[in-house]
């Protein structure tokens, strides 16, 4: 039983990261019906920017480390958000009226461009976050050893997701985003600036991906230029699992995928971890193509 709960916590922590990245896929898909394949690489860029800021300016040296990390995450979110907005302007807006294939090809091209750019700027070797920024405390909760950082990663993910959820559901801009998701033309007739809303979506989605990148760097330490591919793929599965285009769906899908992977690895075989993730994708596409929470079409974002 103890083993089971240990795996549950492991799965939730990884799932929280998947969920944060999945939000970027799902928001972009909801508003533009486009899978942003470059999203995983925006996550990588977030990781590297976090590392660069951390080592160059030592934000944590003169602040409380937790407060310093908060500032670091916000800085990276802003920067990656800007990259996202530029990406949309350069790669997606020119082909928005074209057929869907052009946008997908453009997205794949952007992904290759970003991962090579990261390799050229930061080099092909593994880079490592300094491991003494945050105290590495392991808590003992009801007989389980749980690293404090692991809880912080999960809590940060949930807080960011909560903020996003309230922003989309309760604010005027959020309402505009939902309106654009339903129908670009009708939203425009109601006086919504559709281009601005799309830019906003490309600011928020990549910013969350960037935050996930920093958290992965802080928690696991090691980053390299190809890491966006596997995380992006898993997050994409998570988004489909929860119902792509649906914000609560992405959160649920991410957490669920993390737990399913951890359980599969624990009780079947660790070598099957990726296989299990893809099996989940296939099963959901066969039996419930809209995803777990996919039927509420009107709430798509």
């Amino acid at each position: 039983m103890e083993f089971f709960f240990e795996q549950l916590i492991n799965g939730l922590a990884v799932g929280g990261i998947y969920a944060l990245i999945a939000l970027g896929y799902t928001m972009v898909y909801g508003v533009m019906r486009l899978i942003n394949f470059a999203h995983g690489d925006l996550f990588t860029i977030g990781s590297y920017l976090g590392l660069t800021i951390l080592t160059a300016y030592t934000v944590t040296a003169f602040l409380n480390p937790f407060f310093g990390i908060l500032i670091l995450i916000m800085m990276v979110m802003a920067l990656v958000g800007i990259v996202g907005v530029i990406l949309e302007r350069v790669a997606y807006r020119p082909v928005r009226q074209a057929d869907r294939l052009s946008a997908v090809v453009s997205a794949l091209g952007a992904s290759i461009f970003f991962s090579n750019m990261v390799m050229l700027i930061w080099g092909p070797r593994f880079r490592v976050y300094p491991d003494d920024i945050l105290p590495r405390i392991t808590l003992n909760i009801l007989g389980l050893d749980v690293p404090l950082l692991r809880i912080l990663v999960l809590v940060t993910s949930i807080v960011l997701m909560g903020i996003l959820y309230f922003f989309v559901q309760k604010t005027r801009t959020g309402t505009a985003i939902r309106a654009v998701a339903i129908d670009h033309g009708a939203a425009r007739l109601m006086g919504i600036n559709v281009n601005r809303i799309i830019s906003l979506v490309f600011l928020i989605g990549p910013a969350l991906g960037g935050a996930a990148g920093v958290m992965v760097g802080l928690y696991y330490g090691q980053v390299n230029f190809t890491m966006g591919w596997s995380y992006g793929l898993k997050a994409f599965i998570a988004a489909v699992l929860g119902g792509i285009g649906n914000i609560p769906g992405a959160m649920l899908g991410g957490l669920l995928l993390g737990v399913i992977e951890a359980m599969g690895a624990a009780f079947i075989s660790t070598a099957w971890k990726d296989g299990i993730a893809f099996m989940v994708l296939i099963l959901i596409l066969i039996f419930r193509p809209t995803g777990i929470l996919g039927e509420r079409v009107a709430d798509k974002v």
Binding site: V14, P124, R125, V128, P147, Y220, Q222, A265, A266, T270
Partner: protein, 374 residues
Amino acid sequence: MKTRIKLLVLSLAMALFFGAGNAWAEIRIGLMCPLTGSWASEGQDMRDIVQLLAEEVNAAGGINGQQVRILVEDDGGDPRTAVSAANRLATRNVAAVIGTYGSSITEATQNIYDDYGIIQIANGATSIRLTQKGLKYFFRTSPRDDEQGRVAAETIAAMGYNKVAILHDSTSYARGLADETRGLLEQDNKEIVFFDALTPGERDYSTILSRLRNAGPEVVFFTGYFPEAGLLLRQKNEMNWDVPFIGGDATNNPDLVAIAGRAAAEGFYFLSPPVPQDLATPQAQNFLAAYNSKHGSNPGSIWAVLAGDGFLVLAEAMKATGSLDKDELAAYMHNELNIEGLTGNIAFDQHGDRVGELYRLYRVDGEGNFVMQD
């Protein structure tokens, strides 16, 4: 028009004449290594080391009075790129080729060199079957997987552990080493409590660590590469689990300590051929001094040093036989060659494998240094 064609033919003929003339005024040795791709840092080390040794030989008057020139080709750490690199080298009048890193990449090029009758000395290929094919001109300075498996099993037995967990990463190298070691340990009546693979390239190995802990091993033998080993050590430390870990030679990289953090890396054991820093021989120490004065640091990777050994072997064979003939060279290397290299004594058996014990046991100390054990 006609004069132009004549001129063209004349200049072509001259180019060929002088080109061929140049080819024989020097000894050309090819180096095939990954200058791009995932193993780019290894390949760049190989190039630096081989070129450094060639400069030393040239400064001392060359081999048999001829200057040595190193022709470097990038194999990208990829079998397909390696095939075209091998074809380019084979058609450029090289007397022999050093390289490369990785067994599958080396294997893709073996027959090309054999067809051209060019001696190849691999420096990072450890798969057993590479030397079992009966290729007359293939040698390697790197050790073989089965030798490492044997040393691993002996080490685990000598440390007194009876319940062993083995973890690999499903690559042909790591899987082969894991199978080899498991077989030997089982013969020795040790209990294998865990045998499974992880997925390389992931960040979170806490699940597999929990499973390992549940299996209750006294020691864990991990046969994969350093990035995963570093993460395993780091996350094991966070779980407050202090089982000893032993790694294979693919974990011998200073980045391991950076990834794991010093505290988590301390006490990690791994097997590897000795790096020159740990050999008191004048060959190793002179090389280190020269490398240090040129690059300001010690070479990072043992596999790059083994490329340097490949060069020393070739230079010695060419001096001793006074010839560039492939058959004379190969016969000498198989039967008579016995030199002190950068990683210890070098001699080859009839398959082209190194003779003698190569592996040493290393331990990571509290400062993150790799300390050779006796």
